[in-house]
Symmetry: C2
Subunit: 553 residues, 2 copies
């Protein structure tokens, strides 16, 4: 039961240790809301992991309180954990978001065979009562249409969450951030602001998405052959600008790459991407159309090895190829960690000899996140009493905190948290609360489990040094060796027969010595492992994983 002393708890479960797996719970008495349920893509150390999810144990433990899941926009770092969360939740919890976001989520849930989710469409200006929460949604501009921020009021106080945003006065769909709503909330008082920190280290104001149009039009207009534009599939306003520029100069648009095909279809169906059926053609029709009448919209802006652009650059696409007369526009920037993959594609394209434009050559990309001036403007409009930077790596959160100090928020009212830390808002005053369980969960095939350091350490070792398995059969009674076989994978000496023979000899000596000493099988195994390991180090200066198998017969 909620009473006068009941706090509003702010519980970040993800999003404070990097750009990804955004998820924040807001709990007041017996009511809880979740804002976003995102995933993170694994980094180079997380070998063989398919996806990284936030540990949402806290949500499951309090699932009876959960009144709704609010999704601010359709990017996977905000939606990707939903299929897993919904499978784990017992109650059927409603999901509140914009039409486009729900459309994109629906596709993902279908892939996971999750039927009939409880979708509740909301839009700019929607006000809902969810348990003790009054939730007001307001439009924001971002690199995907239909992004929303939320302001939540409870008897304990109010919190605003910006979602991801830039402040774009000339967005492609004309839907600017709803400054009126934001300022209305501010006028009513916002105790705590949670705001997007992605670009908090970048000075200035992010250019409008509209700034990209002229560069795209100029390149497409002056191109001699085909034009290929690689972008994020979900960046529908970018795709719209490419389509508009193409049609303006009499070119047809071809769409290739799985996610590009899926998302353009959904976006057209839902009325977010506008291009007539006459102007969009199938990839198998391109051969009937002159090269200078074609623009290809494709995936691959991040250098993904199986993407359409990568396949075309390497001559492996089933229907489309790139020649020296063509033009490629990379209308994106590499996500940190993807720089080398993108450079690989650019090098392959250079060898073809086509013209290549990326954001270093022309204004063919702008960020979807606000820079320092926008972040300060948001802070100044909202005038929150307390501030908590979200959505960033350590450096971004701290840079955002610095901006907040610069606009006059006292240091003690700024909270730079780690995932699992909590805040308690009580009578319009914020204090640090008790931490909750948090962390990461790995999706590895069908297994969705706590991050197991042993598995990853083993994969690291296997990837670096390979593995040698030594199988020995020994007589049960005499411990005499019957047979020794050595199997290796991922080692450079696999075909060195002399080494293999010597290794067997090392093992045989070990076993013979052990059988004289009459040791147990465990000891025998340990002896084989050490003997083989030392032998391989001395001969090869490598330390493969050694698995000793002793079968008594």
């Amino acid at each position: 039961m909620a009473g006068k002393k009941t706090p509003l708890k702010i519980i970040p479960l993800g999003g404070l240790d990097g750009i990804g797996k955004n998820m924040t719970a807001f709990e007041y008495g017996d009511d809880m809301l979740l804002v976003d349920a995102g995933l993170m893509f694994p980094d180079d150390e997380q070998l063989g992991i398919d996806l990284v999810l936030p540990d949402y144990t806290y949500v499951l433990e309090n699932e009876d309180k959960l009144r709704g899941i609010i999704i601010t926009h359709g990017h996977e770092d905000h939606t990707g954990a939903l299929p897993y969360l919904l499978m784990d939740l017992t109650p059927k919890v409603p999901i509140y978001s914009s039409k486009l976001t729900l459309g994109l989520i629906e596709g993902k849930l279908n892939e996971h065979r999750i039927r009939a989710p409880k979708f509740q469409e909301v839009t700019d200006g929607t006000v809902l009562r969810l348990g003790a929460f009054e939730v007001r949604f307001f439009a924001m501009t971002h690199s995907i249409p239909a992004a929303l921020g939320v302001c939540m009021r409870t008897p304990a106080g109010s919190v605003m969450h910006t979602g991801d945003f830039k402040l774009d006065q000339t967005p492609i769909d004309g839907l600017t951030p709803n400054y009126q709503a934001i300022n209305q909330c501010a006028a009513e008082g916002v105790d705590l602001l949670l705001s997007d920190s992605t670009n908090a280290t970048n000075p200035g104001f992010t250019p409008s998405e509209a700034a990209v149009g002229p560069a795209l039009r100029h390149i497409i207009k002056n191109a001699k052959g085909r034009v290929f534009v690689a972008s994020f599939a979900s960046h529908i306003h970018r795709l719209q600008q490419v389509c508009d520029a193409s049609i303006a100069v009499g070119r047809k648009v071809v769409v290739t790459g799985r996610s590009m095909v899926t998302i353009t279809r959904v976006a057209r169906e839902l009325g977010y991407l506008h291009i007539s059926n006459d102007d969009i053609i199938d990839a198998y029709e391109v051969d009937d159309i002159p090269d200078d009448k074609i623009v290809v919209l494709c995936t691959g802006s991040q250098g993904e090895p199986l993407s359409a652009l990568s396949r075309m650059a390497n001559g492996e696409h089933k229907s489309l190829s790139i020649t020296a007369r063509d033009t490629v526009i990379i209308s994106a920037t590499p996500v940190p960690g993807n720089e080398k993959s993108v450079a690989g594609i650019v090098n392959a394209l250079s060898k073809i000899g086509c013209s290549i434009y990326d954001k270093n050559e022309a204004l063919v990309h702008v960020s979807g996140h606000g820079n320092q001036e926008e972040l300060k403007l948001m802070l100044t409009m909202v005038k929150p009493k307390y501030f908590m930077p979200v959505h960033g790596e350590a450096i971004h959160l701290r840079a955002h905190a610095k901006l907040a100090r610069a606009v006059g928020i006292p240091e003690k009212n700024i909270f730079v948290l780690d995932n699992g830390d909590t805040l308690e808002l009580r009578n319009h005053t914020v204090r640090i609360g008790e931490p909750v369980d948090s962390g990461v969960v790995y999706v590895d095939g069908l297994s969705v489990t706590d991050a197991d350091p042993v598995v990853l350490r083993d994969r690291q070792k296997l990837s670096k040094d390979g593995i040698v398995t030594c199988v020995v059969t020994v007589s049960h009674r005499s411990h005499k060796t019957r047979a020794i076989e050595i199997y290796s994978r991922g080692v450079s000496f696999a075909n060195d027969e002399e080494l293999n023979k010597d290794a067997q000899e090392v093992v045989r000596t070990r076993i013979d010595r052990s059988s004289e000493a009459d040791v147990g099988v465990d000891q025998l195994r340990k002896g084989i492992r050490n003997g083989l390991s030392n032998f391989l180090w001395s001969r090869t200066h490598t330390r493969p994983m050694v698995i000793p198998v002793v079968m008594e017969v």
Copy 2:
């Protein structure tokens, strides 16, 4: 025997497929020179590989012709293959380079226990007769002192190789590029120019190394606590500027990190780094000195996990620690591929709360390679008849070719080659020659071998999916199963006992079925592999490597 028709062959063995493993052979009749013998660091795909070398089979096959190895400067992408090459060569071939470069090489050769190499020190202006070659060395400016370019004359024509360079009019040691020598060579005629393409996509003129000084001085002067400066250990002019700025404000310099300690020692001994013994102190002495009297020069500018900066950022350094009052300067830029590691260190430092300066915050780094204006200036000064861009990825070589066209070199006189392609210069005319063996060689522990795709593919698979070894003992006569044991590493289901039991059952069924059909051991193995593989896919949606071992007893 060389005659009138003898060509000068230009044989690039490395350096045309990326920044690394630079090596070019020049052969005229019975005489051959090698310019540079560098290594490349493995990329993310080259799992477990220690180093990548150019395949120098061609050099070994023609070792009797080899009159000398010229090393342009002391970076590892120009020197790192030397220990391996020298061990493989039968004749003791002289190595020609500047005092500093030879000093750095000596240290590396010592580590490989290569004694008494035949070093021949050369300097700006040195002219040597090596077989049929007249070789003239000229000073260049780069991110390491004592860099040299070479101009080689033979009866067939002349070639200039710039080495790595920028055109710095205010280098820290006062030794500008020797424009007089370059123009003298040009006046005598340069048939073919090989020039550094690293920054060929960057417009403008690279700022002088001297431009970094004011920013360093400003930050060090105004810092409250300790100042930590991470840079490349071999960037001795950068280190000099840090030392000068430190001493000017009364701070002592501490050096930490293995390569930083080694190279500063060598550079001081050889007279390239100037700092008095009073001003440089040992790490264990720092506790006796106030924080605002200390500057720490350290390794780690590339985010290397074992570097000094990384250990300090993570609180794991044995004698030095960083606090919120301290300042860290990252006086370098991440080499492509290292962006995430560097961001990891910056995030760790942000959490400490210290001030952090990198090249986005202040002019604390400039490149050591010339930008487009410098490359065009070099082409314009040398006025070569033919041009071959070197030292770059595909995109850099092609961008450099474009610059050459812009300054008037005809397209047909520009050669963008792959490693192993060759040119033949005969009577001042260049043509494409016969290709030679080329490629890469991997150093993996003690093994130095041709790149084995199987080993790398196995490591990739192991790193992603792990490995399951199934050992079965069967009776020799009846093929009846005696025992089944399953060992797995790097799989998420390792502790799932039920799965393990079911897997054993799958294998048992397979064997029993096979023994009825009376198949051979190979068939039996295949059956086990397929059965287990399919079982694991159906239950876990992962495909670990499966090694079936059948021991007949």
